[in-house]
Amino acid sequence: MPDTSLPMTERSAAPPQPVRFRGGGFTVKGHRWAALLAFVVLIAVWESTNRFGLVSELFLPPPSAVASALAAMAQDGSLWQHLKASLMRIGVGWVMGTVAGMAVGFAMGIGSVARAVGVPLVSAFFPIPKIALLPLFILWFGIGEPSKFATIGFGVFFPTVIATYSAIDSVPRNLIRMAQSFGLPWASILRKIVLPGALPGILAGFRITASIALILVVAAEMIGAEYGIGAFVLTAGNLMLTDQLLAGVLVLSLLGLSIGTVLSILERRLLKWR
């Protein structure tokens, strides 16, 4: 608009005002070092509470005591013995629960009869605390490895079923229609469309079931286990050896962290198309 077409009013004579920026905040920025720093500060505070005698070593062993308990375990080799036993149980139990859960989940995702039967059953059995079933598992599977696999396997099975069939539900129907319109056989549609389409949901389920397996390994090792991180933590608790207790818990959480990392790598590899 040309200036001359406007009468010279008071308003047009006012000097131009800069537009104030008001779009700040409400975005999450990456603070790479904040987490690490918080961690270091936490450890330092924790250590100093003990050093200055504010908290007894019994109630909260200092990080240095936990570290030395851990070092002692690593040195006498018991750490590896415990880790090996627990990893074996987690591995076998998780694979068993996952394979069975995916098979049932697929059946429920595809077959309407299987779903009609399965959904109420899964809803009924899923919330049962597996720890409450331990005495039964002992009677059914004995006190050797099978009952430990069963404890973990059962815990992993139901979430896997749910994750699998909801993942199948989320496979876009139009892709299946497309495959049918090109005459792909049923098995090919399952293998080439449904399975890869459900993979993100199934992998998300893995994240949950891996943590469940980690939680349940402690429960599983309540059953007559000589070695295992869970057994170690239980014994340390029973003996009131709090530094060892925390060392065991630390190993468990590191285990969780590394399983999570492995899954993240797996997701990035398998799901780079997203």
Binding site: S181, G183, L184, P196, W273
Partner: protein
Amino acid sequence: MRLIIKDLCHRYDDLVVLDGIDLTVQEGEVLAVIGPSGCGKSTLLGIAGGIVAPTSGTIAVAGEVPDGCLNPITFIFQDFALLPWRSVEDNLSLVLEHHPLSAAERRERIESGLRRMGLWDFRKALPKQLSGGMRQRVGIARALAVRPAMLLLDEPLSALDAQTRELLMEDFLSLWQRERTTAVYVTHNLDEALRLADRVVVLSRRPGRLREIVTIEEPRDQRLEPSAQAHLAEVRDRLWHLIRAEAQLADREIADA
């Protein structure tokens, strides 16, 4: 290939979607189907392609199938329906893998499909890396790879912006220039029908009934010429007249629902 639809009715529960459709798609013609939204255009296409079961009526095909045809009736989808986890060339491969082809022939079909749609350089790309127009070109190349006798196009350009739509229409024109593949082209866009179709079928609002079939006399490759404009404007007016009231009603119905 000809497609003969006889006395077709389709209901979803109590809702009558298509009612008494009798229609023959002639060998080599491009038949556009237009109508207001919700008139059952896409359902009609799904029934014609055998992926939706009609409530009653018959669908039949007759006539020649080209050499090397693997899937006589082949769809091109509005949302492209590409597998996001497969690369461009693997999306083409998907529709060939279950056929007993030699590896060399499969490769040849993929390559010729990709080259025709100008996708050769993008063959390793994932769908998410492509623009909408390129994705639909993959959809077209995939359809060409099976050497179809009939193409069923379900609003193939509706998800694209105006310029891309223009470019793809040129692709379709050159496709029908080269091989006279019979096609049913469902659209709600009058311009697409006027550019591409030999005949235009107008469906009424729900329940979808066949209101009229309008023939466009002007040859497809001359429709941009000034001499053709008078005739096309006349056809356009007629089509618009046919669907205007229906579209308005359909619009209100959706708002009411």
